[in-house]
Amino acid sequence: MTRDDGKPAVPLLQVKNVAKHYGARVGCTDVSFDLYPGEVMGIVGESGSGKSTLLNSLAGHQPPDRGEVIFDTRADGPVDTVTMSEPERRMLSRTDWAFVHQHARDGLRMSVSAGGNIGERLMAVGNRHYGSIRERAVDWLGRVEISENRIDDRPLAFSGGMQQRLQIARNLVTGPRLVFMDEPTGGLDVSVQARLLDLLRGLVREMGLSAIIVTHDLAVVRLLADRLMVMKDGRVVETGLTDQVLDDPQHSYTQLLVSSVLQV
């Protein structure tokens, strides 16, 4: 890959031989890949295949046992986030990174209003002007299609789809460059899923986000992901362009996965 100015592009995230074990059991092992700016990577696999373990290890929620997760930081260039100091990593996770949980309740403060939820990251990085925080919150509510007059309502009063959209707004407000998503459409009914996917696709393209999306829903990756990684028993069994993997699966497990989807 090359950048617009002709120089070779630096991957935004380089994952090298990441492994995480739970005692003698394998969480995930030997995972390596590069993610370039603006690229969306999908990780699919059945339950227990190590998708979420991998995502949590990448996002710094639990330290991997082995391997490197090198992120191209704005200030210092590529840095291994596994060995960087905790304050730096936490700073990264509320500025340049974002994490969208499967259950919106895990990612939101349920007792704080929608506006406060969106504003939290802004205040965490030092914004101390109420008016401008409020303005940004209104702007972001609009972007995720939540009406402005709900800004002072608590997420408890929101539907599941709205909570999920609010969680996305709360995460994207600081303009992150890398978004981790863990089953972002899980637990939502199909029409709400479709709108959420539409919204996500728009935001990802518009903001030039890079994203890693973990899901077991092949339709989600078909719509959102440029590249696909298939996991089974903690190992990557197949990688490639999304359409290529889904239309011409090589590994037997991928073939099973693709053929298991009900065609309506």
């Binding site: 905790e86 403060r109 209003s113 506006g115 939290e120 205040m123």
Partner: protein
Amino acid sequence: MSDYNFAYLDEQTKRMIRRAILKGLAVPGYQVPFASREMPMPYGWGTGGVQVSAAALTLDDTLKVIDQGADDTTNAVSIRQFFEKTAGVATTEETKKASVIQTRHRIPEAELTEEQILVYQVPIPEPLRFLEPRETETRKMHALQEYGLMHVKLYEDISQHGAIATAYAYPVKVEGRYVMDPSPIPKFDNPKMEMAAIQLFGAGREQRIYAVPPYTRVVSLDFEDYPFEATKAEHPCDLCGAEDSYLDEVILDDAGCRMFVCSDTDYCRTRREAGHLGRMGEQAA
């Protein structure tokens, strides 16, 4: 008197508490854990403050105890009697004569001096507690100075009430480092915390001691467009006419009559003795 060690606690316990106090003074605003003892009073009645006072008292000290500014309320009277009995120290109601002042929910109106120690009773020392229930997490937030959440609380205030409605236990930042709960004093008292006296905070049930050394910078958190305001009832005191003191509102009957009086009883009495008179005041005898 001879049945008790001086000031009730044994000497080893007082040493332990003094070590915590010294550490607290060395790291202003940091909550130092200490092995809080059972005291002969229920939690919530000032067990933390009493232990800190016991560790700070010497035979030559003069003790004053106030509760919501008043010397004559239950809490103040019983703690004062407790130390009269167990320490035999002199007690006073006059702020100027006291060397150790234990307080619940107020800072005296009279300016304190370098010779004095102010001991606060603290119910919940962790300012982040109602936003983040996990102790492991709040400790980490203090360690890494992640205080954005505190502003989320103030944001919620403004969005719901149009102004920062937090009126007491208003969070402060001490010496540019730790965010601290000043105990439930009215925010009217917050600016007074930059003072000449030593301020010690004791939370018995939560087993924490923290401190603010003399002349330490104490800044109340706020937004640029919603700056901190020290508020009080817009009235003069009805007994002594003071316009600069924090007031209690007293309902007089069920026909809507009310009066405002200084919450600091010593300040009010001193003023009346000096001849100041409010709307409903009578000349002191």
